[in-house]
């Protein structure tokens, strides 16, 4: 008997007691936990406790923690809530996806770590379908489209991660101190200058919306000058 990804497992059961929970319940609990206390706090036991269930009970629904992660990613993907069909204006379509993604990754910063590895559930597939359809007018061939979908997702996740203020705490403070020391190190002038500029501009006077649009534009039209 081969292992299966959670999305292909049969889920019909006629006999016995009704399951007390659903995959969606589990996903919701896990997402809530990750939002509140970080991805590291999402343990099988913790999710089970959130549902008022025993730890071993979760294994009636999922086969591994990987399955749980897949559920979480799919649930976040549902927040894209895209229309059935792209408009045909590829810049507008991709911009819409990017903005929805930005919002989702700001709500769920942990999702960035999971989305690259997760196996695609139905909501993720909807997202991919929309993006691939939206890319049709660009004339890119198929490998390039797939490549660009991953690129866009990565870029959006990275952007959202950096615009949300860093999580306060011990490790974050150490990070910030290290960044400051890099900014003050004259032996790597370009890096020091860049870090100094970023630290100075931190009060977000440079509107992030503008940076986001500009970054997207670079993705669409490249970084080449002129």
């Amino acid at each position: 008997m081969t292992t299966e990804v959670i999305w292909t497992r049969a889920r019909a059961s006629r006999k016995g007691p009704r399951p007390a929970h659903s995959l969606d319940d589990i996903a919701r609990a896990a997402v809530a936990l990750a939002d509140a206390k970080g991805l590291a706090a999402v343990s099988i036991r913790a999710v089970a406790a959130e549902l008022g269930a025993g730890a071993a009970s979760l294994y009636r629904y999922i086969a591994s923690k990987t399955d749980l992660h897949d559920l979480m990613v799919d649930r976040v993907a549902a927040e894209y809530d895209l229309p059935a069909e792209p408009t045909g204006d590829w810049v507008a379509d991709l911009t819409l996806v990017a903005e929805r993604g930005r919002a989702a990754y700001r709500r769920h910063p942990w999702a960035a770590q999971l989305s690259a590895e997760a196996s695609w559930g139905p909501r993720v597939q909807d997202y991919l379908e929309f993006l691939l359809a939206a890319l049709e007018p660009t004339g890119l061939d198929i490998p390039e489209r797939v490549d660009f979908v991953a690129l866009l997702n990565n870029w959006v996740a990275n952007f959202a991660q950096h615009e949300g203020q860093p999580p306060d705490g011990d490790a974050a403070a150490a990070r910030a101190a290290h960044l400051a020391s890099i900014a003050a190190d004259p032996s790597r002038p370009h890096l020091a200058g860049a870090m100094a500029a970023l630290l100075r501009a931190d009060p977000a006077d440079a509107h992030p919306d503008l940076l986001f649009r500009r970054g997207l534009d670079r993705l669409f039209h490249g970084i080449a000058p002129g």
Copy 2:
């Protein structure tokens, strides 16, 4: 007493026995272990055993597993082995970095998961310095340069990940089966078409070097048609 990142800790010691290992030894052992058995096999105990040391001994050198990850990333970054100064031809400079990165990520696929989160050691800083300097002729402003550095790293890591054949094993087989079922699902035609095309072209008759150059070119000049 505030926690510190591993790169800023004092490392002078005059009294007592000479340390039996060095940070570089530890990094080398951890990288070797990750290359051989995957990132999950890199536990404190396993790395210590690789060095012929007790588990608790490692904590004389590092303060946490995060420190170990930082060491590993910095060691991989050393493999870029970039010249002191970029040439001034930004396309050539960035291409060089991308190619070195591709090779490094193919040798150490696990590094992709770590590089985004790691705190920058000296070798990583050298890499960043070179890239930021190389981006100067593009006329991008500083936030855009920093953004692009992250983008390039992500894209290269992602590319290298996908061109290396997937790790054989139980989970990988389940993944492949799921992909095939997506390719056969007519309810999302664009996605199905894309997956079918990718699965068909798997025998790598399309030279990956060519795909790599083309992808880089898209990064530099954008995806806009015409």
